[in-house]
Amino acid sequence: MLWDDAKGMIADYGSRIGLMVRSSPLAPVAKPLAAIGGVSAAALATIMLFSTSTAVESALASAMADPAAILAARSPGARAPGALTQTKLAYAHKAPVERALGQERTRPTAATPAGTPVAALPSALPVTQQALGAPVAEATDPLVTSPGLVPTTLAPVSGVTGVGGGGGGNTGGGGGGTTTPVDPPVSAVPEPSTWLMTILGFFTAGLGLRRRRGAPLPRTVEAR
């Protein structure tokens, strides 16, 4: 039944092709030829399908009789060459890695003479007292009474003129009380704000140069 339908369809298709070439004198010959061709092509396909399916069946049967083949069929495959990196490097009997900071920093020892900052205090105070007013004077008052705290709290007073008291100043320590304190100590790697300022400066310089150029020059870039 199905086969008859298929034959009808193929013949129908052939006749349609015949319709298209009706004007040709060979059309009556071409129409049945095309139909026969379609039918035999279908037959070939059927037979090839059957022959391959028997081949697959026999191959399957022989594979199913071999346990090694069954075990191989379930494998996810051989490992890819990429999966060969070592893991857990920390346990690979490696020495711990040490990293040094960019610049050596020294802490002031306890043997720093306590008298010198106190002696230097009057010279530093007049400047800051006028700038910051009475609160600074109050803040520096305990310094005189307790000389042990002098090196740490002296730095914001003289080095930084900020009202906040200089958060970074107290850790650096006022090693040199008499000279102008260079604290916080300069790091080898500039801080982000420094980088930003540098970049901003270059940008501004470039902008200025571009503006100063005045009238635009004729462009020669595209002329090569």
Partner: protein, 210 residues
């Protein structure tokens, strides 16, 4: 017009091929192969009298009565376990590094299989047949400072079968990693002295440290 002639010519060729193929098929039809195995549930059972063998790394062979039927390839982390109706017998384990699988046999019947991890090229998994030296359900590696549950020690220098997160792209330091649930079941069925056969990852023996 051209199309019609083209179809006609193709048809003629196809007709000739049909005749040729059909004739050849009639002449050279092979006898149907003897059924040597039968699928029973999730098990492929080999027929008595045609029992196949598996070759061990040392060249010895072991007869196989049945294996688990896993029609599709397993994925990383997959395992199958079924020991229903499998009689008691000597348990042996076959690890195939090239296929990245492990099979657990009791007697001649396979009772479990899983996808494994094995050692990197820098720290390869040794091949050969090893008896299980030690069992530990809870083990913490002193060498790598890592939990290795359901450890079955194979060599004196620390190679073992243990539970791992079996996933693609991972490897071990020489151990054989199996999925945790599988490791628990395996741990329950093996005893000290049971042999574990490890087949090489490559066919070239020079590449494998034994």
């Amino acid at each position: 017009m051209r199309y019609a002639w083209g179809i006609a010519m193709f048809g003629g060729l196809a007709l000739a091929a049909t005749v040729a193929f059909g004739g050849a098929r009639d002449r050279a039809a092979p006898p149907p192969p003897l059924p040597q195995s039968a699928i029973e549930g999730d098990r492929v059972r080999f027929l008595a009298g045609h029992l196949p063998t598996l070759t061990m790394p040392d060249g010895a062979t072991r007869q196989v009565r049945s294996v688990l039927n896993t029609p599709d390839a397993m994925h990383y982390g997959d395992y199958r376990w079924n020991d229903d109706g499998v009689a008691d017998g000597p348990v042996w384990v076959r690890v195939d590094l090239a296929q990245q699988t492990v099979s657990v046999f009791r007697g001649g019947d396979e009772i479990g299989t899983a996808v494994i991890l094995y050692g990197t090229d820098g720290k390869p998994t040794p091949t050969g047949t090893f008896p299980i030296l030690e069992k530990a359900a809870e083990h913490r590696s002193t060498l790598y400072d890592a939990e290795m549950p359901f450890m079955l020690r194979l060599t004196g220098d620390g190679v073992a079968i243990h539970a791992s997160a079996v996933r693609q792209g991972a490897a071990t330091h020489g151990c054989i990693g199996v999925p945790p649930a599988f490791a628990e079941r395996l741990f329950a069925v093996v005893k000290r002295g049971d042999p574990v056969a490890i087949l090489p990852a490559r066919t070239d023996p020079a590449q494998n440290r034994t």
